[in-house]
């Protein structure tokens, strides 16, 4: 049991193994995203019932919540990858960290932007300096920091290690974002999704949101695999297996 787990875990240390396997995974995730996102968007925007207080303006939730949830989990993933990279010196972990940062930053921006658009009709203002919004803004800055550090250091391995340390340090912000709506009295409403409780909204509103979240996660995985595969090819360009791969591709 333990030895088979160890073998499974050590496979991740091989960029070649990851490159070969991730093609199939990325395709599956792409298909899931392609099904879930249009379905969730159409259901949410056209067929879900109106909110009794906010009317139709609540429908932006179908973009806002998935983006916000993903922006946070992406950072946790980066910190976890950084930890794995620092401890087990896995090349794939460094690659995943680097590839995830711009995607996470985009979703973080999307969450802030849709939040501002939602805030205007609901709170009457684009922006308030409350705990949830501010900590989300900090998260965006943290993403910028990781991206800047990655690109400032020439050597890929050193850059990966440095970014890993920064990610692990910055992860303290995640619980602050998560619990900001419970610790402080804020304008922002409490979490929409809780694993332990029944959702407060009716099923017809909640289900499309769930589909959207699954779709966005699948899209994130798809984009992450694409970027990671490119990064691996570039980093391993001097190895035999990449050269053989290129020769095979160009012959075909």
């Amino acid at each position: 049991m333990w030895s088979s787990f160890k073998r499974w875990f050590h496979q991740w240390g091989s960029p070649k193994w990851f490159y070969e396997r991730s093609l199939v995974w990325s395709r599956w995730l792409g298909v899931i995203a392609l099904v879930c996102i249009p379905a969730g968007i159409l259901w949410g925007l056209l067929f879900a019932p109106e909110d009794y207080q906010q009317g139709n303006s609540f429908r932006i939730i179908y973009l806002h919540v998935p983006a916000a949830v993903l922006a946070q989990s992406c950072y946790v993933l980066m910190a976890a990858a950084g930890f794995v990279g620092l401890v087990w010196k896995m090349k794939v972990a460094d690659v995943v960290l680097k590839s995830a940062a711009p995607i996470g930053a985009s979703f973080c921006f999307l969450a802030l932007f849709t939040g501002a658009v939602w805030g205007k009709p609901t709170w009457g203002t684009w922006w308030v300096w409350d705990a949830r919004l501010t900590s989300m803004l900090i998260l965006l800055f943290l993403y910028f920091g990781v991206i800047a550090l990655e690109s400032a250091i020439q050597d890929a391995i050193t850059a990966g290690k440095a970014a890993a340390v920064l990610c692990i340090v910055g992860v303290v912000n995640i619980p602050i974002i998560k619990y900001s709506v419970e610790w402080w009295n804020t304008l922002h409403q409490p979490a929409t999704f809780k694993l332990t409780e029944k959702p407060a909204m009716p099923m017809e509103m909640w289900l499309p949101l769930l589909i959207m979240i699954i779709g966005i996660y699948a899209f994130f995985g798809y984009a992450l695999f694409l970027r990671s595969r490119n990064e691996i090819i570039e980093r391993e360009r001097r190895t035999l297996w990449v050269r053989e791969l290129v020769e095979r591709e160009s012959a075909a």
């Binding site: 501010t134 550090l149 250091i153 340390v165």
Partner: protein, 232 residues
């Protein structure tokens, strides 16, 4: 350092690093003064740029002093490890048998003594110029006393990660400022709570908790950063 056969104990090493850094800083006094002058100038920009109205200044004084202290600290961070990195002293520190995080902690303490402490000593004067209520002066100084060590501690992580880079200065701001925001929020929050006449001990306790967390973890992160930078 006198007897080669006896290994130094940890405290001796720690204080040797502090003493060395203080001595180095004292030999370059102009560099010491620069962040302080910057601190004073930034604070004087606010009344000139925003409004010289005493009522406005009184409400924003704590925030202005805090932001200026934060920027002045940021300005001094790049120099924290750079000279040691360039002359090779840093590599020797990494090679010493004593744990690196302890030496880093010594350097952080020295950094705080030459930048954070002077800022704190200067801040009551500037707060009075900003018409801060006199009963709040002590609280402002207290928040800075608890908060500025955190600035040095977290800043050391950024300085360690960027010490090998030419563009260090700007990059440090980008890496470190997001992490400074909670320190700023609770620092000014304490003063504002006191100004509003409400209980501020809770804010101060959170500041203390942040300090303890940073004290426990930041030296390790900075030491890891230094090892990464030195291996490049």
């Amino acid at each position: 350092m006198s007897d080669r056969s006896q290994p130094l104990n940890l405290w001796q090493v720690f204080f040797a690093v502090v003493k060395r850094d203080l001595l180095l800083a004292f030999r370059r006094r102009q560099d010491l003064a620069n962040p302080l002058i910057f601190f004073v100038i930034v604070i004087s920009l606010f009344p000139l740029g925003v409004s010289p109205e005493p009522a406005f200044l009184a409400t924003s004084a704590a925030g202005v002093v805090w932001v200026a202290a934060l920027l002045a600290t940021l300005l001094s961070l790049d120099a924290m490890f750079r000279a040691d990195y360039e002359d090779g002293a840093l590599e020797q520190m990494i090679l010493t048998p004593q744990p690196l995080f302890l030496l880093v902690l010594g350097k952080i303490l020295a950094h705080w003594l030459v930048t954070g402490l002077p800022l704190i000593l200067l801040s009551p004067v500037l707060a009075i110029m900003l018409h801060l209520d006199e009963s709040l002066l002590a609280i402002l100084v207290l928040t800075l006393l608890v908060g500025t060590p955190v600035l040095s501690l977290i800043g050391a992580i950024g300085a360690a990660l960027t010490v090998g880079l030419r563009v260090g200065g700007v990059l440090i701001s980008l890496l470190i400022l997001p992490l400074y925001i909670p320190v700023l929020i609770f620092g000014t929050g304490t003063v504002q709570a006191a100004a509003a006449g409400s209980e501020y001990a809770g804010f101060l306790a959170i500041q203390g908790a942040i300090l303890m967390l940073a004290l426990a973890l930041a030296p390790f992160a900075a030491a890891a950063g230094l090892k990464i930078s030195a291996s490049n």
